[in-house]
Symmetry: D2
Subunit: 346 residues, 4 copies
């Protein structure tokens, strides 16, 4: 089949799970446990995540996917008259098929710079609402959504995140961070934001599993464990509560054993660095200076066609000057062999 | 731990997955496939399900859980001014935390008989709306929801299902069937409804995985594959689209290989039959004449307490005469040993 | 036209407005005022309503119609995981086209007795949720909806209302009362519930204008004026904020001048009493013992047909024994002449 | 009171209604009619509107206000996976408190030019979705929202509207036009879009009453009267169905008698022209070249403060260069005397 014959660098969710996860699933398969996340595997995972993030009182929930997690958490934090601030390029603003609006909330989209928004933009947005004579006719900014790494593979610095957190707290607006690809930040040398930083600076964030070595699943961390009462019911109402919750819990238990989550992204980061070097050597320009596992490159049409015959990539858009913006994504399962074969194709 | 020491018959989702599923996950773990269900495992599963249900043109979708599946399908079939007819005891009416209402739709609840509603009730409900002078001020019945087996473990006969299907078609109301525990019907001698019958009589139904041997997952079958355009986007909007869709597809591919799904429930049915015989011998009355894997028994408080020390069951409610209505659930993974130990405790 | 030739007793919203309202509209027509209810007419009406209900700190809002008011207030009080307790016969449960579910909330319908529910039913419903092991999978009772008079024209006694209020407060569940036809209660000798009683016992209630002499409009009273922050925005979001809010405010200003609202229903009550006497004399049975302006009578088909040729009534339903349940509604504008003509037709 | 002493030019909804409306309300006050818009006044208004717009088969509905009308119509045209294209400055995008999102739909906001968007922008937006490989993960453009006059008082030319209509039809996307201030377009010499043009080019539009001489109310026109089945119920579900619908119908009956609606805006347009001339003479710059009843002027802070002592205007925003953007709105009830007094204050 085509997808087996060509090299494939289209995404970081093309394989199954880290072998340690499958191993543990096998070992524990016929143990009997209660449902809905009330099992010892989930509880163990919660404890390990609380420890890793240094948030001993945190509530930790396991959900199935990113859009679902964002929709639930945004619905949990916002009141009906509030909306969520996001970069225009944020996943909730572009590629969630209106899941936030389905829940009744407006996405208040701000211009982005390489996928990021700034503390100053957030401050200005919140202040503009406060000062607008018509603010009662408008959606109130009630939450901030960031992704880290962003949809463009870029990273917030610790300083940027601190400033954003300060603004949010000054305006009493919860800060929520989408860590769908968080493992790729944690394994990236350019990253200086740690799990405890997230625990300290965010009101909620999720640790991505689906794109970071799990079969599926995301772990939501809410440092103030009492902030969101009745969240169990809200999760159920969103169709996001899995009866066999232990399967998700067990996966995070493995990912947070012996620091696996903080290193699982390394092969992806190393492969991406090799590829970026090779692109630079070949004079192929990058569209975004992203240090993580997503590489956005600009190709003229002929070269794009030639390369696409050998390597599956994601087409993003045609630029105004006629070039093609393509994405190469490496992942936790990317092998050095595939990376070298890709480089040979360039 | 308590749940390991006591015998446990609380539900049919206490273990992991059928070993054949884990085996196949291991074998295919590092293959690369596209996301969102566009992979060959999902496609193979779809073909096998279409064949098993004799609906060659059906659309088949894989979702994560039952509440999610119900919410998506009801939202897909109904227009905003319509509601869904259900037994009062239907899962959507009682135990989905308002997921249907979250999607904007009213559940039009009808009185049930052992979890079932009749063609005549549905006809009367639809006709009453048609004949009501105030119908334009009322929610229009726009869909029928059945569960098979029901929440009380009972079964619709083929004849009952045919009559319901006829009424639905006469009123042009789609018929949707929740098969969360469908495997336990298919393995049950009392059942005369086959997968092709569902394919012929329903406008949509789902084949339960979570409670029938999968790690998680439900397969929705829509016999008229063109009935619901843009369903992909609606699924995404509900947060129900898994990036690594192949994991769900693969599980159903295994469940529909060599007829596994149609036999996987047998151990549960055999165990339940053994337990029912034993209860009859001991003179312990059943609350509902259910032939499948759920047994509803009535215990006086002393006996309930004594038994609960040895066997974990589900408490349903206290009856007016002071007895306790308890549920024993067997499952695909129930062993004869555990069954005999349970009987010894009675 | 048909509706002009026959006597018409179909509803209490068949005429325009009390003449005093039109007079005041004319007098003030070209005065300039700010929009959105921030005008002196609305402010004057608020003050008069606060005084009449003895709730000096109440928030008072003016909305356009009953379904809208119910939908806004229920959405304002409930959190997403909560539903509203109502009689099965409650307007929100039957004749609002799913407006409450459109806002995402389930109506928790209880059996009614002549349109009423009891404190004991509410207590049992709230307690059942608290005690249910599966309560986190269920919609939480978060509010109580009553109508007074009810949809069947019946009245809660002060004692019944006190008991309900006590239960609600014990369970911390807001009590909301729909007073679409409140003027007909206040003018009814059998009624012992005053406006100050409502102010003391309810967490919110609305004083109906549409059916009680206004062109349109309902006045919501929230005794604790700080209970619902951002309600202005929520009202706007529901499409319920009128730019020219003064028109509604002015109408309530007139209705609450010199106690007009408390007497405006008298002609309706007197006419209804006359009609009930006449029905009793003729041996025509009542279906419901309602003391207010709605009369529910049972007619055999021949008599119903004969009477309908001369008098327009509302057909409610055909009873099991083949009789027709019809409604005669009197109103603030019903004249003694029309009443006598109706009686002559019986 | 302040609002009586200062000249007031803050909005076009500061007075009551055109005297002819009040007169007719008085004349017909005690006539009895059926509710919910099924009365002869509403029917007469519908016929007159159909004739004026040359849409003999149109459905015509009367609603209470603009946000409500927009929310209902957008919900009526869109399926759940679709959003509505609007100028960023569109009322639905900015000042409706998230009413569209409350209904579950995303507003797809495009950059505006003086409040307007172009056919080319709409084409590009619809085509971009069609061509995006990820379109199934995105909100589908399902409708276009225009306002005429726009929120900045500007007008679409007939040619612009024709081009937009062509694009919409090519993409099978309904075109909906918000005519909250339509009377001010129809009375404006620069306007070349007639009611029959709207009837021919739009899939739905509303004729504003609230800001154009009614007590309240908007008239929705849907040229293809069968386009939106069950709209009555949807209107009810949105809380937008008035029991005493005749009051709205009667007002439009008056507004569409003897062409009143097409001339009612003249005093406003003449006053605005006088004021613009005076501003030009005084060298006070306009921020937007709007030809209708809204004038957007730029004042330095000192002048703004001085003028505000004598004339109430709307403050819009502070520009980057420190000036104040203010709005003067004239209306159907603006008198030449007030206009001259305003000019004298400049």
């Amino acid at each position: 089949m085509d997808h087996l014959q060509r090299l494939s660098f289209t995404s970081d969710y093309m394989e199954g799970a880290h072998p340690a996860i499958l191993r543990r699933l096998l070992e524990t398969n016929l143990e009997k446990t209660p449902g809905y996340g009330l099992d010892p595997f989930s509880e163990s995972a919660r404890e390990k995540i609380r420890a890793a993030c240094r948030v001993p009182d945190a509530a930790v929930w396991f959900l199935a996917g990113g859009t679902q997690t964002n929709a639930v958490m945004i619905d949990a934090f916002l009141r009906p008259w509030q909306g969520v601030i996001s970069a225009e390029s944020g996943h909730i603003s572009t590629h969630e098929a209106g899941a936030i609006e389905f829940g009744g909330h407006k996405v208040l989209a701000l211009p982005h710079r390489n996928g990021k928004i700034s503390a100053e933009q957030i401050r200005a947005c919140a202040a503009a609402w406060q000062q607008d004579a018509n603010r009662e006719h408008m959606v109130m900014p009630g939450m901030v959504y960031l992704s880290h790494p962003t949809e463009y593979g870029t990273l917030y610095s610790l300083r940027e995140l601190q400033e954003i957190s300060e603004v949010c707290r000054a305006f009493q607006i919860p800060l929520y961070l989408d860590g769908a690809r968080l493992a790729y930040a944690l394994s990236c040398p350019e990253n200086d934001v740690t799990l405890p930083d997230l625990g300290r600076l965010c009101d909620a964030f999720y640790i991505g599993g689906t794109k970071c070595g799990a079969l599926y699943g995301e772990a939501v961390v809410i440092p103030d464990g009492k902030a969101l009462p009745h969240l169990f019911t809200l999760i159920k109402q969103h169709g996001a509560l899995l009866a066999k919750g232990r399967i998700t819990g067990l996966q995070f238990d493995v990912l947070f054993t012996d620091g696996l989550y903080e290193t699982i992204g390394r092969p992806a980061i190393e492969a991406a660095a090799r590829i970026r070097s090779a692109l630079a050597e070949k004079g192929i320009p990058l569209a975004v200076p992203s240090p993580t596992n997503q590489i956005f490159l600009l190709l003229d049409p002929a070269r794009a066609e030639a390369l696409s015959e050998k390597v599956e990539m994601s087409f993003m858009e045609r630029t105004d000057d006629g070039r093609l913006l393509m994405r190469i994504a490496t992942g936790w399962a990317t092998t050095p062999e595939d990376t070298e074969r890709l480089i040979a194709c360039l």
